[in-house]
Symmetry: C2
DNA sequence: GGATGTTAGATGCAGTTGCATCGAGTTATG
DNA sequence: CATAACTCGATGCAACTGCATCTAACATCC
């Protein structure tokens, strides 16, 4: 009789939790040290920047970011308050809205990227060769 | 001129964030569905069970779990209130205390493991071969 | 031994997250 | 068209997290 999750699976799970926590705390600390907003702001701004002129419906952004609905609702509020996005009424569906990044939002995203990218390099790039990073990315993709 | 974090590094970072979020949400959902406490309870109970009769000082547990100090302080409070651990005065250092798992704590950990292990299998084991899981664990270990 | 610095752990407060639920609008069914 | 079922997004409330700070107890240095 074989144990359900084998040793390697458990090791991978533990590694995933720990590595993510370590890397994330480095990245969040760097952002905070520069007085920049948290990572979730970046993710949202980036998705909206990629979406361009059309913007995104909250539920689309929610899925792209793997965010809970209530969570995104509040994130959007804060981003709008900060002037980084606009919430526009949606023509096609009177319940809904369309989120669009503002110029200030694009600038903030760019500014965050300077710090963010350095932190990624520190937390991941410096610890893996390019081929290791590629392998890791591929293995992680299988978990989604 | 080469871009600072290369493409593979960024892909690994994104994969890490997403995979962890997906896997974690599966696991937490399974625990919640069974009316069991959150994962952090399991981690603490497991560390204390491994520590055995000697128990652990809060700051030791804190480091083992990669938890913030204030965070662990409150987790220990809740575990103690639930009767899963005991907080004993520390002989060697009057400021400190020693945390020890109780019998109820051991039982809870075992009970959580039944659900937890199935969830790990579902979120990780089912998506990777054994050798892939081994590779993944090894790559992730380099990030700590 | 006494001043100074450091470490262990707790806690008040503000911000964030999770959960449940709501209200408004849309779609499906008859 | 009426009603039932569902989707979109917001929100009250409770739990949790992060930050700063506090108290008490070592440790160090003279």
């Amino acid at each position: 009789m074989k144990s359900k999750p084998d040793q390697a699976t458990v090791a991978a799970w533990i590694g995933l939790s720990r590595a993510q926590r370590v890397a994330m705390s480095v990245v969040e600390a760097r952002l905070k040290a520069e007085g920049l907003p948290a990572l979730s702001w970046y993710d949202a701004l980036w998705e909206l920047e990629k979406a361009g002129e059309a913007g995104l419906r909250p539920y689309e952004l929610e899925r792209a970011m793997l965010f809970e609905q209530y969570n995104l609702s509040r994130l959007a509020q804060r981003l709008a308050e900060a002037g980084l996005i606009n919430k526009e009424a949606c023509e096609a569906d009177a319940r809904g809205q369309t989120l669009k990044i503002t110029q200030a939002g694009r600038e903030m995203r760019r500014r965050m990227w300077e710090t963010y990218s350095r932190a990624i390099e520190e937390a991941v790039g410096a610890k893996l060769s390019v081929s290791e990073a590629r392998s890791l990315a591929e293995l992680l993709r299988k978990l989604e």
